[in-house]
Amino acid sequence: MNDVVVTGVGLVSSLGTNAADALDAMRHLRTGLVPWHPLPDTNLPVTIAGPIPGFDVSGLDAASWSWPDHLPIDRSVLRGMPPHGLYAMAALTEAMAQANLAPDACRDGRTGLYAASGGSPRLTFRRLAAMENNAWQRGHPLGVISSVAGTLNFHFAAILGIRGESCGFVSACASSAHAIGYAADSIRLGRQDRIVVIGAEDLCLESVMPFHGMGALTTGSDPALAMRPFDRDRSGFAATGGAAVLILESSSSARRRHVTPLARLAGWGQAADGYHPAAPHPQGIGLADAINLALADAQSSPADVDYINAHGTGTPAGDAAEALALSRIFNSSCPPISSTKALTGHGLSLAGAMEAVLSILALRHAIIPGQAHLTHPLPEGAHLNFPRLTTSHPIRSALNNSSGFGGANVVHLFTHA
């Protein structure tokens, strides 16, 4: 089977407009979480989030959106996109440049596109409300393709001229992690030479506030303390948006193109909890199985793992389950673990791809990101290794955990190429 490498990454996050900004934030444990008041005159119960600096996508129409001047984005390609399509466009530009791929390089039939997002609840809600107001007589012509869950693959397959595989993934907060895993399988099987993987989400009331109804969002007001993965006193997550793009490619294709890979996706695994539509299994059995499957896929053992980028959303149930899963596998010798969501916020469908990029950055730049905002580790993880500060240290391999509703668990293992 073909070896799978990553030849380009792009990241637009609360930490900045590119991967270098995020790397700098990880080095210094600088959080992108800030006070968030999208409705200034309303007393919202949630006041912390991770907006994307330099972007304004508050209008419904792409005509009104703005972005940093240095990003070469043609406004006309944004028409009919969801707001996070703009973030994806910026991240794609960065990833394509790093992979040394020209814009028309994806038209060869050997390039696929896998994307993940929750669609745009905001556009869905607003467009449907407008239709209801006119007795369902008229609707926005691009209302469907701008708002449903497949919106990213619709748009970017057209922009890139994709003639190979094109598909969207929907497994909540494991969606883009699934996209990476299945992309790797397709490349391994020789069906595609490369696959562009995009994960993106919008940060807006309509995307975020429904999670408050589940009790999943922190209501803390201090950006430095509100989201506290693996802390005894954690109270839920702060949300974020943004986009992450990875160019996955067969190692033979990368060699043919004389491109130096950033990392190798040595293996991945997935396993479901079979337990509850929203809550994780209390013992984290699905996640533990997914970790074991990823290690087996990579022909690695727990002792080979030098860093774990945990799912760690800071919810009471989720972190406890993940800590128990990690304790079971890495019991005797635990590598450093951190959830970078304490810095970025939780990007929902975007999370798996965003943290894959952050894991690759850690691997390449030999840093172990510290666990921000952790004071008292949770009792379920008393024996786990949560470094409080980022340290410089060579990493042989980095494990990236993702979990989503329905008990979906996905794990990647990245190594040096």
Binding site: A63, W65, D74, R75, S76, R79, R138, H140
Partner: protein, 124 residues
């Protein structure tokens, strides 16, 4: 010719917000339509908004385009772009436009006549 109802009840600031990101001439055309409506200002308003929906490869000024210009063949507007433009005009002017009605329009003149009719005005 009467001022479109949806336009009349909007303030200039609301119009400018509705058209945020559109080129200034398009915004100015809509604002001027509110203050002094006549067939010429309606035509300028329609064309300046329509211009925004031209495909990238066919981007051009429509200020001097003749009534005989064909929306699809000459301006390269596909049915979705035309529907988008009509929907935006519906939002901004408050003139209800159905997608299928726009689909029947062939030329710039047809478009102008359609909106004039909606405003109970003589297109000439």
């Amino acid at each position: 010719m009467k001022i479109p109802e949806g336009l009349e009840r909007r303030t200039e600031a609301e119009i400018r917000e509705e058209l945020r990101g559109f080129p200034p001439p398009a915004i100015d055309a809509v604002v001027s339509l509110k203050s002094g409506t006549n067939p010429a200002s309606l035509r300028a308003c329609l064309l300046s908004v329509l211009e925004f929906y031209l495909p990238q490869a066919a981007r051009r000024s429509l200020a001097d385009v003749p009534d005989s210009a064909r929306l699809r063949e000459d301006l390269a507007l596909d049915s979705l772009a035309l529907a988008e433009a009509a929907f935006k005009l519906d939002e901004v002017l408050g003139i209800p436009v159905e997608t299928r009605e726009v689909g029947n329009l062939a030329t710039v003149g047809d478009l102008h006549a359609f909106f004039c009719a909606r405003l109970q005005s003589d297109p000439s």
